[in-house]
Subunit: 481 residues, 2 copies
């Protein structure tokens, strides 16, 4: 390539920003899009300065930076040339090319799974989360502000990846008092979400290809976390007494981990019988077998007294207990926790740093104080009544559905409930014609199956939304009988 | 098992909590630890009420819950018995058993990697993060409080997993203005940390077993994220012009992803030459090949004008650009971002929900306003001067090390710097005898190698800490010459 003797034509300067930055950007863009072509000689810095009406120092500075970056070549007495290799950059940088091929098979599989996305707008009946309208906002703000002041600038720096000491202590007291769990702060790991905890635990306990059992129908987040860890997933069906543990030897003799929601099966609401709990603990006595107990709404599922966790029945430290503050506080708090054997705390802390470094200290300190000052248990007690009232109004409003073949739950607690009907076609028709955001029970199953129920998530809905949603649902059920 | 006719001996009640809860806990613990043994008959509810001096209703209620849970069996006229199956529960639940075996090979490998843990206490020279003491706390507090008020209770609910619209827009303006990057908000994904972004991107782009290239020495977090995604890692050495791209065809002909820090190689500080940038982009034209550009401290590495990102040179949408606000703002903010081809935004959003649902809206809104109101660029400008001053004081204070064989950087920017010495033994001796928190260059290498340098992270240190640290370092270097 020969260098042209004549100087290149300088591009016009758009003066939208600071002069020096603008000159740099203008020249670089011209270099990238080919207006200043490889090998071309630029006008001297004196000429360039005159042309753009800027000082020669600014031009020298910009030429030097572009030379530092390799776009220009400068030599004393030789002038300034566009570097030959930029010809290889090809067309302009703004061109966006669509990717016909998937990034990777795993990526395509994970990317197509949207079951962990949550609605940002609540309507009947997609709102199985805490009702933010009832949250004691002022108390929280006061405690949060005080915690921010007390932490000061220390709150801007790293925090312990196991979780803030104060919160781990508060959580262990809470678990002892409200759940009767024997667990100290040395057994607690704080996470930003139950989802994050699930990922870290799956990565810790499983090798890629290991088999892991889940409930079917079951919680999609657990499914996603175990799949992400490369586990081979085996589903066990759920009946009125919870997960069918009796099928374990047949279906998953090699299972190393069983994920389950024993207190309030998600989504059916079944409570795992003591007989099956014991069978699970007996299974877990085998080497390298683990139980992962997700107590996602433990605060709300039992009228006034939470059920004994599997964790408390376990004498072999084979149960990892998972809890979240998303439902008892609010989802944007981003706090969840696991109670695990002490020997697994440091391993989990290390793995979580590889997933997302640490959980920020301020919400942890505020949460710890909210618990220690008694606001948490008072709030949970109050919300239990509110959700019970919502549920009872909902079930009352759709009571007539029982006359057209729907099975309504006898008693229901928590932030969601389930209506069953044996005719899958009818269930689908009701869901489609109601105009509501209804989830089919079948959408929580791993295998394709008929839809034998609707899952109604009402936690964050107002009583008014519940009433109007229930009316629409009842109407759709009566029409599609 | 025969049921004993005589009633069991009731355990004493410790009245530390609410009566009903205490009675439940006492009886359940006695059931779990065997004091109330399988098959035993409990005293009648009337006798029990009298013994504990509580109302009979409370006893009935507690017996019913324990029967619901399967611990007791009750029949009208038959009395209340301890369920036979609890004998299988074994010993008491408080027994903690240590686990001699590792949870899994992968788990053991991930758990033993502590390179992503960060110091919670800063000393010379472990502090390569933002100096929180210089952060404009009052301005931030004001903006944060206003953002909290404006979001109101909506800030307690879910947010878009791609990131808050306002922040994505602010970030795209920032990238356009400060980096000259052509990118719109539709190309931005917000994460809670660069580490989280690395994990999501690795899971998206790679199949397990795919090979991925990294710089050696290099950033441990990238190593961890790619390993976590099951990648086969291939290291390419780094010289004065950055990553040795020329070794790519020989060492990793099958590579699908190259992770690199082209603007300011971590940890050596090398700038990737234009020649190599072009070679990388040419490589990436092959099918299913990706470049991941980590611009971890782009704000600080170039005296006043940030270098052109690889992203801007790319005409094929093969570069994913990664930035963090941990260094330019503060680490506890938990905000990072990626600029990616638009077709990868939704896939990444879905994958991030499977890792950790979403990033809370409040810090995102506050950050967006902090940027839009010009505070961010002012802060970055100011900090650039502060870090430059720290670095220059540090290098001045250890200038004499050059007399005993150490190579000091000509110019150094950012929050850390590197001192090299050809004699590995001497480097180790200096590190050990200095009493400082010094990182060996070799600790950033994947392969065992001699230590040919020290990595000094000074960002969050005060000038005083830098002075005393530098004095100790110089002394150790002069003694171990």
């Amino acid at each position: 390539m020969t260098r042209r003797a004549k100087g290149a034509l300088l591009p016009p300067l758009t003066r939208s920003g600071r002069l020096r930055a603008e000159l740099y950007r203008t020249l670089r863009n011209a270099l990238l899009d080919g207006r200043l072509a490889a090998g071309e000689r630029l006008p001297s810095s004196r000429q360039t300065a005159a042309e753009y009406a800027v000082s020669r120092g600014v031009v020298e500075d910009v030429f030097d930076q572009l030379a530092d970056e390799g776009f220009l070549e400068r030599g004393v007495g030789r002038g300034t040339f566009v570097a030959p290799q930029i010809a290889r950059l090809g067309t302009t940088a703004v061109e966006v090319i669509s990717h016909p091929s998937c990034p990777s098979e795993r990526g395509a599989r994970l990317a197509s799974n949207a079951t962990c996305r949550e609605p940002t707008e609540f309507r009947p009946f997609n709102a199985g989360v805490a009702d933010a309208a009832e949250f004691p906002w002022k108390i929280w703000q006061r405690i949060h502000t005080r915690a921010a002041r007390d932490l000061g600038r220390a709150g801007l720096n790293f925090a312990d990846p196991r979780g803030l000491g104060a919160l781990r202590t508060s959580l262990s007291h809470y678990l002892a008092q409200l759940r009767g769990m024997h667990c100290t702060e040395d057994q607690i790991v704080v996470f930003s979400s139950a989802q994050q905890a699930l990922c870290a635990i799956a990565l810790l306990l499983l090798n890629p290809g290991d088999s892991a059992c889940l409930e079917d129908p079951g919680y999609p987040g657990a499914n996603a976390a175990l799949a992400l860890a490369g586990a081979r997933l085996v589903s066990l069906p759920v009946d009125r007494d919870g997960m069918r543990i009796d099928l374990l030897p047949l279906r998953a003799p090699e299972a190393r981990l069983i994920y389950l929601t024993p207190a309030h099966q998600y989504p059916t609401g079944a409570v795992l019988s003591l007989e099956r709990r014991i069978a699970l603990l007996e299974w877990a006595r085998g080497s390298n077998r683990w139980l992962l107990e997700d107590d996602y709404d433990g605060e709300f599922h039992y009228a006034s007294h939470p059920l004994t966790p599997l964790y408390s029945l376990d004498s072999r430290s084979r149960v990892l207990y998972l809890g979240t503050l998303s439902k008892s506080m609010f989802v944007a708090l981003r706090l969840a926790f696991a109670a695990v054997p002490p020997s697994l705390v440091e391993p989990l802390a290390n793995i979580r740093t590889q997933l997302d470094t640490f959980t920020p200290p301020l919400p942890q300190l505020a949460m710890s104080r909210f618990m220690d000052e008694g606001h948490f248990s008072a709030h949970v007690r109050r919300m239990r009544g509110i959700y019970a009232e919502k549920c009872s109004q909902l079930l009352d409003a759709v009571a007539e559905m029982a006359d057209v073949g729907w099975e309504l739950p006898e008693k229901s607690t928590g932030l969601q409930t389930m209506l069953r009907h044996p005719d899958g076609t009818q269930v689908r028709k009701v869901a489609q014609s109601s105009g509501l955001a209804l989830a089919l029970l079948s959408s929580f199953r791993r295998a394709r199956s008929r839809s034998d129920g609707l899952f109604l998530r009402f936690g964050a809905l107002s009583l008014r939304q519940i009433q109007s949603g229930a009316a629409a649902l009842l109407k759709a059920a009566l029409v599609n009988r």
